[in-house]
Symmetry: C2
């Protein structure tokens, strides 16, 4: 992994993504005692950083592979990201979604041109359905987080943050499937000046925290978190990167996630999804650790169902 590889990735995907703005807030700085730089991936195309990895994965396909299409299983942002990335490049996108996925999410995938295959809502059924499409169509499977091209695409978030603010002491990112924090760890390792990478993870879905403790991939006992983008599991490609380059992971409770989200909506005047608030919640929970530091915080996305949000 070197600078050139990440720069090539950034150059490759740049026509299809936004270099998203970085927000600051005196009030939130005063509240935490740190100097905070919020990287606003809620303003990314289709509303989340996932677009970066999806675009990079599709761009790496050969002409023949592009004709045969891509397939993934996701009910979240990656389903939409791969659909839009593929549409931009005239590639068919087959999306395996559980048959109980909300209509609004299915509509979004269809809106971006994805072709949905419904399956039973469990991981075996998902993987089987995806494998069938690979076999039948010759499509290339792209995992939402455990895929090196996806991780490299995601790494451009941290790269842009460090380009704009080279002297960050640390970057905090939410941890779900591990694809964002692994990418952030790579970019921080390559472009940072002793810039630590720290994860924020929901306590009720803390597979990454426990995996770092035990040294092997642990599974989630539950995934009952409001941070719906973080219910997924680490994988064997991103875990070694996380082990090597992530300093530590801070676990936060559900109420802390909601409070952090409310603060960001109120003070930054931006709509972010609960998963995005987890990194900031980790900073709020450990103010002493971040005191007087220059801290990048990755706000991963803004796709939230407003009809289900309640702050009171």
């Amino acid at each position: 992994m070197d600078k050139q590889m990440l720069r090539d990735t950034s150059r490759r995907i740049s026509p299809y993504i936004h270099n998203t703005p970085i927000f600051t807030s005196h009030l939130l700085d005063d509240m935490t005692g740190a100097k905070l730089f919020f990287k606003c991936e809620n303003f990314q195309k289709m509303g989340a950083f996932k677009m970066r990895g999806a675009v990079n994965a599709v761009l790496q396909l050969t002409k023949e592979e592009r004709e045969r299409g891509v397939v993934t299983h996701s009910s979240g942002n990656f389903a939409q990201a791969l659909s839009l990335a593929a549409k931009n490049l005239d590639v068919p996108a087959y999306i395996v979604m559980p048959n109980n996925a909300p209509k609004v999410k299915k509509d979004a995938v269809v809106g971006y041109g994805g072709i949905i295959t419904a399956c039973e809502p469990n991981i075996n059924a998902r993987e089987e359905a995806a494998a069938k499409i690979v076999a039948k169509k010759g499509a290339t499977f792209v995992h939402p987080s455990n895929d090196l091209n996806v991780i490299l695409g995601n790494a451009t978030v941290g790269m842009e943050l460090l380009n704009a603010h080279p002297n960050l002491d640390m970057i905090v990112a939410p941890v779900g499937g591990g694809g964002l924090i692994a990418g952030t760890a790579l970019s921080s390792h390559v472009f940072g000046k002793n810039c630590k990478v720290i994860g924020g993870e929901p306590l009720v879905a803390d597979d990454a925290y426990r995996s770092l403790e035990s040294g092997q991939i642990e599974t989630n006992y539950s995934t009952n978190t409001v941070a719906d983008g973080l219910r997924t599991q680490l994988g064997d490609i991103n875990f070694p990167i996380i082990q090597q380059y992530v300093d530590h992971i801070i676990r936060v409770e559900e109420v802390e996630i909601i409070q952090a989200m409310k603060l960001l909506w109120e003070r930054l005047k931006i709509v972010i999804e609960p998963s995005s608030a987890v990194a900031f919640a980790a900073v709020l929970k450990n103010k002493d650790y971040f005191k007087d530091k220059r801290v990048g915080i990755i706000l991963s996305g803004g796709n939230v169902d407003l009809e289900t949000i309640r702050f009171s």
Copy 2:
């Protein structure tokens, strides 16, 4: 009114305000058939365009006047704006607020250094309380919307929009007390190239619409609108400007305001207050009129009580 006067205003207030970003959205363009440019005053200091007029008013005071302070009556954004503007310049700010104003609003004023005087919740009591402070402290009264310095400060919103996009066909602004749309009308007249200014107003508080019809200042029969920043009345300073330079006013219903606000939160991923959504609601309601036009839309502020917001 000439270019130099507005440029001087802009230069004067620029150290104290943000030149706020302008957002665009392919999806909202497709939905309306227009090319839309959203001026995001929700990202303005203290969260609303009101900061511009307040700063301009305070900066126009003599040294002696600054020592004696400023006074206004407002329960909304202008109370906070004048408090912060005055604080920045080390000027005392006396804020008359109704005794039933929400605690969160009083706290915000105190947070910005304003000195609150409580009064009965009616316009006579407000004006009396303000007059007493003027008499006792020698403070200068600054009206939230019916004040030329405030209107000139507000005019910098449209000026920035036209600096960035000189060929706008029209600018749409919400209409409450008339201070924003009067300022917008001035900047459009001076800097636009046949750029029309159009107002959006809640149907249930349509004093400005009826005033333009009748040719004299009409009063609101009710002010029961979700757009709490637009419950106020036109004044004798801004009305003549509105008469001369505003093309027309489009009235929107409450449900249209909420729907427009939801669309903006979902698609632009920004938090705006209901008053801000009124201008966009006017465009959504009259798509044929705006079709194929380049339309600036002023999103006036982002101060919303999240605990009271319900989209379902």
